[in-house]
Amino acid sequence: MGVVKLELKGISKAFGSFYANQDIDLVVEPGQIHCLLGENGAGKSTLMNVLYGLYEPTAGQIVVDGQPRSFRGPGDAMAAGIGMVHQHFMLVPVFTVAENVALGAEPAGPGGILNLEKTRRKIREISERYGFDVDPDALVEDLPVGVQQRVEIIKALVRNAKVLILDEPTAVLTPQETDELLDIMRQLKASGTSIVFISHKLREVKAVSDVITVIRRGKVVGDAPPTASPTELASMMVGRPVSLSLNKAAAQPGERTFVVRDLTVRAANGTNVVDGISFDIARGEILAVAGVQGNGQTELTEAILGVQDHVSGSVTLEGKELLGLPVKEVLRSGVGFVPEDRSHDGLVGPFSVAENLVLDLYDRAPFAKGVGMSPAKVAENAAAKIKEFDIRTPSVGSAAGTLSGGNQQKVVMARELSRPLRLFIASQPTRGVDVGSVEFLHRRIVAERDAGTPVMIVSTELDEVAELADRIAVLYKGKLVGIVPAGTPRDTLGLMMAGVSPEGGSDDN
């Protein structure tokens, strides 16, 4: 099996006047797992898209085995032995595994009539060699996420990839699936395939990497050995010393004012995406809802807010039933809500920061004045919030959509925390947020707890859950697997996220 040495020399990629990558040098030695570590938006994915021929570099050279190459498209990159597994899978859901694997290089007979037998055989071969357990005739949309990812890997291997790029491959996996993937990566490495592993999760990076290259704001900051401490790596990513632990005080739970009973949300296809969930949250306590993405977390929070249909059960806040109330009433009852997709559901992108900060209160005094609004009061409020939450924006009038992820999230948080709250719900409070802002946002959430508000956090990142939670609820396929105290070992949480209840035994009915 041939091995390939891959070099990137002085790669720059500009979008307009903004440099996503600037003068990047990188050498991937044959048969190594080379990790690219960096925050969201640091330019890792852009770099890999350049390498894979999806973007044309503004400057620089790609050298494969000493030969300078230029890729006009992914086809050229594949021909040079480079394969890529994207963060969002590039699989056609309504195609079978074999059709997806064959696409673009389909074996066909006369007249272009497809003949997928060869593809099926190859899939079975690779599947056996690495223990993938993939059926070539299964429809991709019916497969679990972890298996879909293996289909992506097969796709690259069938095309004889010698260098495999994995872009944030663990973002959608349970901890157990992640471990399996890391094993697969080691096996691939043993058979001579080099891997470029893109991640921002320090634990995984340290576990498999041979070399770590840290990227910040489009530039290579430096290399680090896998033995470097997490604090060192994080500081390299952010560019200043960061403390990774929050050191919050113990919770002082009070009266259980938020009570959910038998909450069920039925989806359009008739299944229950939230299935008979009951829990309470006390004043001054953070309940973190953990689980792999897509196990009912979104529907759970949206049902409480009142934007889901086909909801049954009961949700009471200080004795008042929230289900069935219009969203505005729910918010006026003292619920603060940070949606998981802030740019889509939390902000109106083209509106100014100032306007976004009063989206909930625009029709109330002091911001409303008769049928009109009071721009002075809106601007005043914005100036205060920008200072309090350290929102980095050119001006109060800048469009919210132009801010960085972390600053957008601060706008949403600032708005939701500015009302007197009786319940605070935040979904994925720090997804796509830079490490520096994470710390700040976490402190604000804990401060809200300490002010005596029941707080519910939904997060798919176990690190975040461990950081914030006073108690941890785990969801699997819309059911509550269990509620466990903070400090429960990751392994236990990982099993719960796969549906195994903490007392042991599977929870499949």
Binding site: P74, G75, P93, V94, L103, S312
Partner: protein
């Protein structure tokens, strides 16, 4: 604890078990009761005569004689039985098989036919003529809906089918008249349809203009342009510009003499035979070939196709162009087969019905073909019933095709899934 404060439609039904929808059993039940009351108990006393073969045919079969009321009752009972079977299946938690609604529809339409014919002034129609005429009327619809299938499968919504039909009809008439050759006219129609499609493709793919808007604008544009040219060029000098030769009907010997299906399958113009070929080729092409796999991938998940080295926008451009050419051929049918010259708005909204046929046919060439036949049947029924003089006012009959369209698209097909990326322009990155 109080429960279910939020109104949940269907909450009375079981919520945990996954039951098939009640839509099919209920609609079949209601329709069969309607049939029993109107076609049966209130059925006309006369006997409906349905001729199966024409006088000049090689094999002459006797005509069907069906007494209005008795026939209605028998057919209604058959319908009730089918509805009962569907409810029985639902009760056991099973889905109704696919053939059941289709068989039900066929029997229901037949019962409707008996009811109308037996109530007419002249209670006699030619079944063979009815079906053959339906196919003739369906030909432009089939070409139009195939164009839609090709475009939507690759991710471009083609609202401009109407414009492509109209452009094809106009060009066919003009070119065939000038060259005195219907076949050159047919080719020119394909080119005209492709041209309209290219405009759609360029604006929606390269300039990312909303596809629906481009489509609508194109329809209006083609309608205005052909109307203008018709008024200034064609109408003043009809001999020179608007007397196209017809496409000859080419009956296949022997086979065309088979009663009922002979005239449908084996007594067509070149365009008619082309229709059957086009349906088969598009189906095989889409689902059995390398080209089709790529086309469908582009329509479902363009990013995935792009990362595998498939040129998304080029695939879209050429597919949309090909679709336009097919619709253009459909347009030529109006001026070269059915009517002998071009008139303003000759396509008369058939392009939109073709769009409905494509959705009814679930983005599948064969489905679109069958749906087009159904709509063609509705058109033909309307004109034949006008001739034999039914008690139903002709305005209602004229609504028939559109009524069928609404019911077909809204209710009967259930939830169908369009290609995921249909209507969404592809921008790299």
């Amino acid at each position: 604890m109080t429960t279910a404060t939020k109104p949940a439609p269907g909450a009375a039904g079981p919520t945990t078990a996954l039951r098939p929808s009640l839509k099919v059993p209920v609609s079949l039940g209601v329709l069969s009761l309607v049939a029993l009351v109107f076609f049966g108990f209130l059925g006309p006393g006369k006997t409906a005569e349905m001729k199966i073969s024409e006088q000049g045919d090689a094999i002459v079969l006797p005509a069907l004689q069906i007494p209005g009321q008795a026939g209605g009752i028998v057919l209604a009972i058959l319908l009730l039985a089918m509805a009962a079977y569907s409810i029985y299946l639902w009760n056991r938690g099973e889905r109704s098989p696919k053939w059941l609604p289709i068989a039900f529809a066929v029997v229901f339409v037949f019962a409707l036919l008996v009811w109308i014919v037996a109530g007419a002034r002249e209670p006699s129609i030619s079944l063979a003529g009815l079906i053959a005429g339906s196919v003739t009327l369906a030909v432009p619809l089939v070409f139009g809906s195939l164009s839609g299938v090709l475009c939507e499968r690759v991710g471009v919504v083609n609202i401009a089918i109407e414009g492509q039909l109209l452009g094809g009809a106009f060009t066919a008439a003009l070119v065939a008249t000038v060259t005195h050759n219907a076949y050159i006219g047919l080719l020119a129609a394909a080119a005209a349809g492709a041209l309209v499609s290219m405009v759609l493709a360029v604006f929606s793919i390269k300039y990312l203009v909303n596809q629906i808007i481009v489509g609508v604008v194109l329809n209006v544009l083609v309608s205005g342009l052909t109307g203008f040219l018709f008024g200034t060029v064609m109408a003043p000098d009809k001999e020179l510009f608007n007397t196209p030769p017809r496409l000859d009907i080419l009956p296949i010997p022997l086979l065309s003499d088979i009663p009922l299906i002979g005239p449908i399958l084996f007594e067509q113009s070149v365009a008619g035979y082309l229709m059957y070929v086009a349906v088969a080729v598009v189906w095989v092409g889409l689902f059995k070939t390398r080209w089709g796999l790529r086309v469908r991938a582009v329509g479902e998940h363009p990013q995935a196709a792009d990362t595998l080295g498939i040129n998304v926008n080029a695939t879209r451009f050429w597919n949309v162009t090909l679709g336009g050419a097919i619709a253009g051929i459909g347009g030529a049918i109006f001026t070269l087969v059915t009517i002998d010259s071009f008139t303003k708005e000759i396509s008369g909204g058939r392009g939109f019905i073709a769009l409905a046929a494509l959705i009814f046919g679930r983005w599948n060439p064969i489905g679109a073909f069958l749906a087009s036949l159904l709509f063609g049947f509705a058109y033909n029924l309307q004109s034949i019933l006008g001739i034999i003089g039914t008690p139903v006012p002709s305005q209602f009959m004229a609504m028939l095709p559109y009524l069928v369209t609404i019911f077909a698209v809204a209710g009967l097909v259930g939830r169908s899934r369009p290609p995921a990326a249909s209507g969404i322009p592809y921008v790299k990155g």
